[in-house]
């Protein structure tokens, strides 16, 4: 079994009266693509800050590559490529200067690979960073994060506010990382379609708590979306104990449920309704179901 690159145990963190993280435990296996979803303020960035060693665990523990990122920041950070949501790159630097500057921090910087990325991203090495568009800036940040071939590529909402073409480029870069053996990707996003495309594992944070964590295929298979047709139109939504979400009108109602907890056939029988459609729930269904 692949060892865990990130191991978080019972992590909690309060800011004032707010529980930013509440007893969160998760493991990121080596070589996987781990997607973290959650609405704004759910605790995603706080979690990432713990991984980077920027926050010390108040209660619980954080282990990255088997090391404590707060006690041993250099050993941990040198193996991580990090791209934040709004990359804060030095505006006055030219792209090539920025590359030279970043290279100084990472012994494993691969100059040839960096050049290749530069070309693929279509960045002008002579351009000053402040003249770059938002998308180009994101790519410059991604270049810096990837060029030293980090063991862990850590992306915080990498596609935030970017147009679809740039988003595709970033996603392609992530996939290239994954294809190289042994490298792990951890990215947080609220763009569920992206998460669904590339993640092996998914975790969902809601108000600081981990409401879901596991292999994506398993999670999707466990959650079913069932459409029931009733004999007569229902004036109010049917009450389905344990359902994540109930929507619809009249005779047809769609229920998103965890099939481990709720058997569709039993549910249908209880209402005297017929199952007319049944699917794996989409991540969107599951997300909304847990967030409501």
């Amino acid at each position: 079994m692949a060892e865990a690159v990130v191991r978080i145990s019972n992590l909690s963190r309060r800011f004032g009266s707010k529980d930013a993280l509440n007893d969160v435990s998760l493991e990121v296996p080596r070589g996987c693509v781990f997607g973290l979803v959650g609405e704004n303020g759910a605790g995603k960035t706080t979690l990432i800050k713990h991984i980077l060693g920027l926050l010390r665990a108040e209660s619980g523990s954080v282990s990255i590559f088997g090391m404590n990122p707060v006690a041993d920041p250099v050993s941990v950070l040198v193996r991580i490529g990090y791209l934040s949501e709004q990359p804060d790159l030095p505006g006055w630097m030219r792209v090539d200067e920025f590359m030279r500057y970043t290279k100084a921090f990472y012994p494993k910087w691969d100059a040839a690979y960096a050049e290749q990325l530069l070309e693929e991203f279509g960045l002008n090495p002579a351009a000053r960073i402040k003249t770059l568009s938002k998308g180009q800036r994101a790519k410059a940040g991604l270049l810096a994060a990837q060029a030293h071939r980090p063991d862990l590529l850590l992306l915080d909402e990498p596609s935030s506010g970017l147009d679809p073409i740039v988003r595709s480029d970033i996603l392609a870069a992530v996939i290239r990382t994954v294809a190289e053996e042994g490298r792990t990707v951890f990215f947080s996003s609220h763009l569920l379609e992206e998460i669904e495309r590339v993640s092996d594992h998914v975790a969902m944070l809601h108000q600081g708590k981990l409401v879901l964590c596991g292999p994506l295929d398993q999670i999707k298979a466990q959650h079913r979306r069932v459409t029931l047709r009733f004999e007569s139109p229902q004036a109010t939504p049917p009450v389905v104990p344990g359902a994540l979400r109930v929507t619809g009108t009249g005779r047809e109602w769609t229920i998103v449920c965890n099939s481990a907890q709720l058997r569709q056939s039993t549910m249908a029988a209880r209402f005297g309704a017929k199952i007319v459609e049944e699917d794996d729930a989409s991540l969107n269904d599951i997300f909304i179901g847990h967030a409501e």
Binding site: S168, A172, V178, R197, K220, D279, D280
Partner: protein
Amino acid sequence: MNLRLNPSSGIPLYVQLVEQVKHAIETGSIQAGDQLPSVRKMAEDLLINPNTVAKAYQDLEREGVIELRHGSGAFVLDSIVAREKLMQKARAVLGTALDRIASLDLTEDEIRRLVENELAIRRTPKQLRKKHG
């Protein structure tokens, strides 16, 4: 190959990929001996996880649709393509037949019963022995 995957549908991505590769063979857009893109290239083109592509390729190999040649890549197998060509021919004839009886307004169940009957009449004793063997 024109592949379109829908990550949000209820169908796992690797299943969609398997189905679409088979469909591409059926329609002739890929043929026997053709090489499929590498796992990595396919993943990059479709913007999905390479593990998903690998899973789909493994399934396709298991079903005898493609052959994974160590070091060379994934190749479409001959026997399947030949079979698909036969299927294409049969589909054309069947399609014409169905068009011609469309005006009779039979239900789908009735049509299926007709097809079953015709198949039953044509079953050879050898096939029957195999079935009840």
